[in-house]
């Protein structure tokens, strides 16, 4: 699957970034660009982290609500 359409980031790119040490949505954004434009894939990035046991999410990490977030035009900052 393509995780982030805005930055053309694929599942395997996210998996590689996690293997290389990214442990938050924000860190994934810094390494791959995923989630840094419209922010709609924040939940999928979060799921990729929790699926690998990386559940600790800092308070200031990118927001995520629901399984299918709406794209409101507000980028995840």
């Amino acid at each position: 699957m393509i995780v982030c359409l805005c930055r053309a980031v694929r599942e395997h790119d996210v998996a590689r970034a996690i293997a290389e040490g990214a442990s938050t949505v924000r860190a994934l954004g810094e390494r791959t660009g995923a989630g840094t434009d419209c922010g709609a894939c924040a939940c999928e990035l979060r799921s990729a982290l929790t699926a690998r046991g990386l559940v600790s999410v800092p308070q200031d990490d990118a927001p995520c609500s629901g399984s299918r977030p709406m794209v409101t035009g507000v980028a995840a900052k």
């Binding site: 699957m1 393509i2 999928e44 299918r68 977030p69 709406m70 794209v71």
Partner: protein
């Protein structure tokens, strides 16, 4: 119909519209990817599905305007894009799996409010979404039984 019912129905129609606009984009991109890969009969089918969603969107937009609401053309749900035929079908099925309960819930609200016009419109869309869901589950079953290679080989010619 009370003002409260009317604004609730406009809100539900706008949520249906968001799903239709998302489906137009997701199916259109999947159609063009399938065309690029050379799976021409799948391209034709998925392209037609995208156009069907656009016709649904038009019906919903017309209805929202009729109810003196403003159709929200700004919002999209997450567009899910597959990298294989199986992923494409599964992503489209997941969209339909969310659309069908949403439509059924909105239909129940319309029936309760006595808005049979909106109810009939949503029922027409519901039947169309159920037909698409049925096609997708059949394709995923075929991929499971034949393997993706054998399934794909049957879809390189125009239908």
């Amino acid at each position: 119909m009370s003002d409260t019912s009317r604004s609730e129905i406009i809100r539900l129609l706008n949520e249906v519209l968001t799903a239709e606009l998302t489906a137009i984009n997701q199916y259109f991109l999947h159609a063009k990817i399938l065309q690029d890969w050379g799976f021409l009969s799948l391209y034709q089918y998925v392209y037609k599905e995208s156009i069907d969603e656009m016709k649904h969107a038009e019906m919903v937009i017309d209805r929202v305007l009729y109810l003196d609401g403003l159709p929200n053309m700004q919002r999209l749900f997450k567009v899910q894009v597959g990298e294989t035929i199986q992923e494409i079908m599964a992503a489209d099925l997941s969209l339909e799996d969310e659309a069908i309960p949403r439509l059924n819930a909105a239909i129940a609200v319309c029936r309760e409010a006595g808005d049979n016009g909106t109810r009939a419109l949503l029922e027409e869309i519901l039947v169309s979404e159920e037909e698409h869901r049925d096609w997708l589950t059949t394709q995923l079953d075929l991929i499971e039984r034949l393997g993706e290679k054998a399934y794909a080989a049957e879809h390189i010619r125009e239908g």
